[in-house]
Symmetry: C2
Subunit: 338 residues, 2 copies
């Protein structure tokens, strides 16, 4: 049986894994953003090819299947184009497109049912059943939702500093690092212009010079301002919003949050995205709200990306059973290649 | 003494008033947006000229002074260009640029101290002292603040409907009118695609097809959904945020909200902007939070725009005293021209 290629195509980076039908990873490659929605079709195709070429290490060999995990891209990425693109690498079988949410889920488990919560630049929760997305909550993007995401945290930081500067909110230790990050000089910040602190006017000017989504780069400030009441409040609200997102995916027939918690704790729970995997305080704020009747707290599996999960799905969608042993083989052999 | 010209240059429309030094309004004109920041310099200049030409009714007469009220425009609008532009209308005196906040304030009072709260597409509060802006709160724009504004209300509507559709929030009567407003057909809304209701996926797609600021057009839905708990919650939060903005302008030395309420109620309080002057429920949610120790509630003066205030400032900045009689003359003679 020929080898398989699995790709995890994100908005800012793409990962490709070459693996045997037994789950032994043979090659690994990375490239830039591979999502046609956020990157455009041609750059996305180029990224998928570049990562694949690296994973194949120059070989052209018969590939049984290529599986590509990407966000909401099945419409935007024509399968024929993908197929032509991979034919150059020796593809004889099919190209499958799968959800990036499923790839993140399967990066933490080989079971076919459970829950995933992802908070990177965006934020989304998913319930997986029988290997498919059963229900999805939030993931509505920076303007309509993504509550608890990196963008959301960064915007909260900028809003809290704005409120502190004009007296709508309490003083906060976030102010000095945010102004410094924006390159606003310390001198003259306390001057008033037309009834406004110069620092606030400059904050407004600097933020609107950039695109809205760039507010996400202020998210790390909230983790650095430990002990600050305002920063802690932002982390608590992020945790509450993300817990709400996760609970909504579990409550398909709404019987209240406690039943949703029980449902979530009865199977694997996967956390992905930098806000949950690097910002430990947000993950703790989420799990603190996922407490069962007997007092036990949910223990999520943290995953860095969807590379393992894409490999898992490449096997499963080829009809190959992935058990604990195969899953461990994928994990370990891939870790050695990274 | 020659006549004066007063302009209230907003982001979407401009008003011009020709008046005598005694406050008798002789002509009135309107045009499109006259703010160089949001419209660009050349279109803004054209709008100012068009409104002025209309107010002058074809006359070219010696003008003692032109006063232009506009938002944060003193830097972007070169005075020489303005002067050249008005010289064609017979201007012999100076061109003055003043804050649009002051124009709104003076549309409701001839006193030189008090407070103003404006909630249109944006939201801002101001304390006026000795005829100048003493402190300003919020007005940070759609991305960083403007809490309680038309944009903020519209975004809350879209977010609440999104949360209702995926179970993060309660069902709401806002859902049907929002989906209809977006042109989302009723059939198939309950279908699931990749774990999501089709209605939610379409909501996301439709909103991101437009610019962010266009969310403000959903604000009226919140007023129409009377009796809905979610809509009432949005109105309450808007009122709380706007009250906070107003209170922040009053608490220059922070002694708590009650002292700020006392300070606000000791002078004129002006409400401007469509959210406060047309959406009566938001104004009531604000004033409900401005209750003095003796139980009396603030009674704001509602003003439609800054036209009267620009005329008041044109007189004051020429050294003319504006008392109750002159103020009433401006109000009444302008009302007859509109």
């Amino acid at each position: 049986m020929p080898n398989l290629l699995a790709l995890d195509a994100g908005g800012t980076s793409t990962r490709a894994v070459l693996l045997t039908p037994s789950g032994q990873c043979l090659g690994y490659g990375t490239a830039g953003g591979g999502n046609p929605v956020s990157r455009g079709l041609s750059p996305a195709l180029q990224a998928l090819s570049a990562a694949s070429r690296q994973a194949l290490g120059g070989r052209v060999e018969p590939l049984g299947q290529v599986l590509v995990a990407m966000a909401g891209a099945s419409v935007e990425m024509p399968l024929e184009l993908l197929h032509d693109s991979f034919a150059a690498f020796g593809l004889s079988g099919k190209v499958l497109i799968e959800s990036d949410l499923l790839a993140t889920f399967y990066s933490g488990t080989f079971h076919d049912s459970g829950h995933a919560l992802i908070a990177g630049t965006g934020a989304v929760g998913a319930r997986v059943a029988q290997g498919r997305l059963f229900s999805v909550a939030d993931g509505m993007g920076w303007l309509l939702g993504d509550a608890g995401s990196g963008f959301w945290l960064g915007r909260e930081v900028a809003q809290a500093v704005g409120a502190a500067l004009d007296g709508r909110g309490p003083a906060t230790a976030l102010t000095a690092p945010l102004l410094a990050e924006l390159g606003i000089a310390a001198e003259g910040q306390a001057d008033h212009i037309q009834g406004r602190l110069r620092a606030q006017q400059q904050l407004i000017t600097k933020v609107y010079e950039r695109s809205a989504i760039e507010l996400s780069r202020f998210a790390p400030l909230v983790f650095a301002a430990s002990g600050d009441r305002v920063a802690q409040g932002i982390i608590d609200r992020a945790g509450a919003a993300l817990a709400q997102t996760l609970l909504a995916t579990a409550a398909s027939s709404p019987k209240g949050d406690m039943d949703a918690v029980t449902a979530i704790m009865s199977g694997p729970l996967i956390f992905g995205g930098s806000v949950l995997t690097k910002g430990v305080s947000v993950a703790a704020a989420v799990t603190g709200r996922l407490r069962a009747r007997d007092g036990t707290v949910a223990r999520p599996v943290l995953v860095a990306d969807g590379a393992v999960g894409a490999a898992v799905m490449a096997l499963k969608r080829s009809g190959i059973d992935v058990d604990a042993k195969v899953f461990a083989r994928i994990q370990h052999s891939l870790a050695l290649l990274r």
